[in-house]
């Protein structure tokens, strides 16, 4: 594919474009171009390649799924050797082939020289360089503790590098009101000031061993680490659901999508659908729209979306339909997603016949929750090394909570090491608040005096841990009595500076400017805007909507305000009829979603174990024959025996046991053994190889 036609984001309202693809490599005999340092999966996506091979068991098409080194679905052959495409950077001249059936090992029988496996004895090993790991490392670094921090990616920051949105939480304690990507940069800079912390990037923890050593693969070299204390902060993996077609290329995790789009600036889809109304799904949908990728809709199985209401509202205001009490029943297409079918579900989560709707999309994002990556934690604990967990590896919550939990873990570790350091009394309660799920939702109330020259409309009606608006108001008019979970309360006296509009992470504050029209027929609204101006340039007539996205009337885009301090957030001035000014919360930017005819499908037996292509009916059959030990299911069907080590299907199988009426206390789960990620045999022997 010509470089100019690649599926890459040329423009993005928040993110800078990345460099041009200049690195030539070969894929199945064709010359393609990647960006410097780009991983193979993103380079292939940029070149329009979505299918990376076919499975040996049934020829099923394989593509990306987690884009996080966890699932092994994206395996390709690079220079003769099987690699995870999402973890392996393209090198100039690399010969990449799709993985068709079982790979062969290259008949390369030159003798190999081995060196000793290096062993290290730091005071603390931190696994994971995301918000929790970095913040813990900073605490330890401040006291000169000898630490090794390992992370499997080429850059620090973990999932902060995907989080283009402003953070919620507390301004003082965890940078609320700042974009996640910037927080990642700031934390990394801060960490670099602490020389006692060695940061090992491109380093994957492979397993913990009984002799209290942890094996890691660092830049293609095997090392053993024998620390006094371990902090596991390796985040979460995306949960998964089973439905016919769930294995098609084009069905993948919302986090995977954010990696493709926000980290690697790949134009990964043209139109997508989202399953899951938690924060991850809601935010991923919004990020898609920002990248110019249409979002046909979102389904949530519960009767309400569990994510922050402000995220839900902003999505609905853009015109994205959100169906609660709905789920995806099918994805169809020839070797890739072309259509999804959704259905209403009853209280038992069973589809309600006759309520199906179908949509033509090329991508289906799965955002049905996160699960802590905790298998190393469990093993390390079992082997008697003092071990702590922080961030999502401890408890799934927002990144702001992860930062804070890392800080607390850092202090606890210091104390265990005998450093006399306090853990301030208010930290634990604050950590609790930052982790808290959304609370009560109240009815929206406009300010008391709506005749004032200018006043804010706080479309923030659900209790969430967030306080930037209270900090920025120069006249201190927005207050939150009690904790940062409370709703903000405005008292009259606004001067119209717009700082609250500019900082609200939920994009939930507008200003109403009453003195815009001398006739009093029109009012001007100031709203936050995080899209390209080209989406609605000045002069555009727009459909205005209320808080939940319902149509109010029409308005006209008057102007945009931009300022370096706003970190690319724009303030858009919208003229609306005076009568609408207390109703309008935003305006629509996408056309209405059109459903297509629902067609009957013949494939109804979904894949449960992706690695080994085991279908649900096979598992059900064995459960009905009396199998209660998942290790025996493994013997019979190979479920959980694949490259991911059962990480993806384990909970899905447990769900099938429950569906079959089996009490989970009668079920024996998979036995956990090293390794948690695959690595080449030669490397374990002490062969150095380039990654």
């Amino acid at each position: 594919m010509a470089k100019a036609q690649q599926h890459r984001l040329r423009r993005h309202p928040i993110l800078d474009p990345l460099g041009e693809p200049t690195v030539a490599f070969e894929y199945n005999g064709e010359t393609l171009f990647a960006r410097e340092g780009e991983v193979i999966s993103s380079a292939l996506f940029a070149n329009g390649i979505r299918i990376f091979g076919h499975h040996p068991r049934d020829g099923g098409a394989q593509g990306i799924y987690c884009v996080n080194g966890q699932c092994s679905q994206c395996a390709v052959i690079a220079d003769g050797v099987l690699v995870k495409a999402c973890m392996t950077p393209v090198r100039a001249g690399m010969v990449v082939e799709s993985c068709e059936g079982f790979p062969a090992i290259p008949p390369d029988d030159r003798r190999v020289e081995f060196h000793e496996i290096p062993e290290h004895k730091p005071q603390v090993l931190i696994i994971g360089g995301g918000p929790a790991g970095i913040d813990a490392a900073i605490e330890l670094g401040r006291f000169g503790i000898d630490c090794i921090l390992v992370d499997d990616k080429p850059e620090l920051g973990g999932k902060l590098s995907l989080q283009t949105h402003y953070f919620f939480g507390s301004v003082r304690d965890c940078w609320a009101g700042t974009r996640g990507i910037r927080i990642g940069e700031m934390l990394s800079e801060e960490l670099a000031r602490h020389p006692s912390v060695q940061v090992w990037l491109n380093t994957t923890a492979l397993g913990a061993f009984y002799d209290k050593k942890i094996g890691v693969l660092k830049d293609g070299e095997y090392h053993l680490i024998n620390p006094q204390i371990v902090l596991v902060a390796c985040g979460a993996r995306e949960k998964n659901i089973v439905f016919p077609g769930c294995d098609l290329p084009g069905v993948y995790g919302a986090g995977a999508f954010q990696t493709l789009v926000n980290r690697d600036r790949i134009d990964a889809a043209s139109r997508l659908f989202v399953v899951g109304g938690g924060n991850v799904g809601l935010i991923a949908a919004y990020h898609a729209l920002q990248a110019g990728i249409d979002v046909a809709g979102l389904v949530e199985a519960l009767p309400y979306c569990g994510g922050y209401k402000v995220h839900l509202d902003k999505l609905r205001r853009m015109g994205v339909p959100v169906w609660t009490s709905h789920t995806v029943v099918r994805a169809e297409g020839r070797e890739r997603v072309e259509r999804v079918t959704i259905s209403q579900i009853d209280r038992d989560f069973k589809p309600v016949s006759g309520t199906e709707q179908a949509f033509d999309v090329d991508t289906l994002l799965i955002a049905v929750g996160l699960a802590p990556i905790n298998e190393l934690y469990e093993k390390i604990k079992q082997y008697g090394i003092p071990v702590y967990a922080a961030g999502d590896a401890d408890e799934i919550a927002e990144a702001s909570a992860a930062i804070f939990s890392g800080r607390i873990a850092g202090r606890r570790i210091l104390r265990e090491l005998g450093v006399e350091v306090d853990i301030p009394q208010d930290w634990e309660p604050l950590a609790e608040i930052l982790r808290s799920k959304p609370g009560e939702t109240s009815e929206f109330k406009p300010p008391e005096d709506v005749t004032a020259r200018v006043f804010p409309m706080l479309w923030c009606t659900q209790e969430i841990p967030c306080n930037p608006c209270t900090v920025v108001c120069p006249r201190d008019l927005i207050k939150m009595p009690g904790s940062i979970l409370q709703l903000p309360h405005y008292t009259d006296g606004c001067i119209g500076c717009g700082r609250c509009v500019a900082i609200c992470p939920g994009l939930a504050i507008n200003l109403v400017i009453n003195d815009y029209d001398p006739q009093g027929e029109k009012a001007l609204l100031m709203m936050p805007f995080e899209f390209e101006i080209a989406v609605a340039p000045p002069g555009t007539e727009v459909v205005t909507v209320d808080q939940a996205g319902g149509t109010v009337g029409t308005g006209r885009i008057v102007a945009f305000k931009e300022h370096p301090d706003l970190d690319r957030r724009k303030l858009v001035m919208v003229e609306v009829p005076d009568a609408d000014k207390l109703k309008v919360a935003g305006f629509r930017i996408r056309p209405e979603t059109v459903a297509v005819d629902v067609e009957a499908s013949d494939e109804e037996d979904p894949i449960v174990c992706r690695c080994e292509r085991v279908r649900k009916s096979e598992i059900v059959r064995e459960i009905r024959r009396g199998v209660r030990d998942m290790n025996q299911l493994k013997s019979l069907l190979r479920v959980g025996m694949g490259a991911c080590g059962g990480k993806t299907c384990s909970t899905l199988i447990q769900r099938i046991f429950r569906e079959e009426g089996v009490d989970l206390k009668d079920v024996t789960v998979f036995t956990e053994r090293p390794l948690v990620a695959e690595a080449p045999l030669g490397v374990f022997g002490g062969e150095k190889r380039k990654q």
Partner: protein
């Protein structure tokens, strides 16, 4: 009131499950018990699945010959695939002494009709693509040996036994043996009592624990061995390879590996210094030590992605030979223990023998061969030439 059976098998592993099957085939009402949650969850699933009749002990030759016959025909007979792979065993040889030992036992092996021979270096290089040729003297190859999936075989035998009426109960550790005078009359578990005139002890590495309950000295002590498996790759290795050289690192007495039917390479080594006990947790030294040995032997194997490692136990007897016998002092008790790491390949043949011992009171093996498996033998005897 205890539930009554004709025979109770204690232990549902490599030996216990086939024993239950052959007992049920004799028409007995069989109960098989295990303290774990399913068949094969002890040492069976840790086994690498090599099956050879080419031993140097006549009892093991005869038993494994039966096992091979059963494994290799299982799919035809029962319609269930247990991943039989008839690739043989190959012992490449680099040392004069090993050459002498292996050649020395060929006449005995051949006298039992085993298909095994000494082959030259080119033949070894054909069998083992990429093998290090420097110092290679040739080796033995026994094409009729092979590999089976222990995981699949355990379930296959369980289900075949169930079809014949055998009952399996899991999560039920035996806590006591029921006695009438010297005779055994049944077992008590954490969940209840079961009576039977015959009890077969096939508890693998747990045999020692049962020793105490039975008031017998069953000389079985486990030591633990590590193993691992790689991702599956296109077939490049037909036979299971055994390299009998001790390693230059001082840790390995020998090592062996093979490509199983699904394409993965499964591997293991015998530690020079045994790890006594039944610890099943993996150690950090295993992969670096074995990786060097494997890659030094066949360099291309350095590209194999290692998927999983584990540790399992060898229930050892002092002389390295199993105990398969009726216990004279305890009427009703049959021992099938101390398989010394070869329980899987010995399983079906031992099970057949157990069924004969229970129902007929005598072994299937000729008396002069059975003698080496007797419970009451002198365990200080000579060790097997090839273990």
């Amino acid at each position: 009131m205890a539930q009554a059976f004709d025979a109770i098998v204690v232990g549902c592993g490599s030996v216990g499950v086939p024993s239950a099957y052959y007992l049920a085939r004799k028409g007995l009402k069989v109960l098989a018990l295990d303290r774990r949650s399913a068949v094969g969850q002890g040492e069976n699933k840790a086994a690498i699945g090599g099956v050879r009749a080419t031993h140097s002990d006549p009892a093991k030759i005869l038993i494994c010959r039966e096992s091979l016959r059963e494994f290799s025909t299982w799919k035809e007979t029962h319609g269930v695939d247990i991943d039989w792979k008839p690739g043989g065993y190959c012992f490449p040889v680099y040392g004069e002494e090993t050459e002498g030992v292996l050649k020395g036992i060929l006449p005995l092996q051949k006298s039992y009709g085993l298909n095994i021979d000494w082959v030259d270096t080119d033949a070894i290089a054909d069998l083992v693509p990429g093998i290090e040729r420097e110092g290679l003297r040739g080796g033995t190859f026994s094409p009729e040996d092979g590999q089976v999936s222990p995981l699949k075989a355990a379930v296959a035998f369980e289900r075949a036994a169930m079809e014949l009426g055998a009952e399996f109960r899991f999560n039920e550790p035996v806590v006591a043996y029921l006695r009438d005078g010297d005779s055994i009359t049944g077992v008590r578990t954490a969940k209840g009592e079961y009576s039977a005139p015959h009890v077969v002890l096939a508890a693998g590495a747990d045999a020692g624990r049962h020793s105490e309950m039975l008031g017998l000295n069953i000389p079985v002590e486990p030591d633990s061995h590590e193993a691992g498996i790689t991702m599956p790759v296109k077939e490049f290795l037909k036979p299971l390879i055994v390299d009998l050289r001790p390693g230059p690192e001082g840790k390995t007495a020998n090592f062996y590996f093979g490509q199983v039917a699904d394409g993965a390479i499964i591997f293991c080594y015998t530690p020079k210094e045994l790890f006594k006990g039944d610890n099943r947790e993996s150690l950090s030294e295993f992969l670096p030590v074995l990786a060097r040995r494997m890659v030094s032997l066949i360099p291309r194997m350095r590209h194999l992605l290692v998927r999983r490692v584990w540790r399992g136990c060898y229930p050892m007897t002092p002389d390295g030979v199993p105990i398969v016998d009726n216990v004279g002092s305890v009427p009703g008790l049959t021992l099938a223990v101390g398989m010394c790491g070869q329980g899987f390949m010995m399983g079906p043949g031992t099970g057949m023998n157990v069924a004969e011992l229970v129902t007929e009171g005598r072994s299937l093996l000729p008396p002069e061969v059975q003698v080496s498996l007797r419970f009451g033998r002198d365990y200080t005897g000579k060790k097997e030439a090839l273990k």
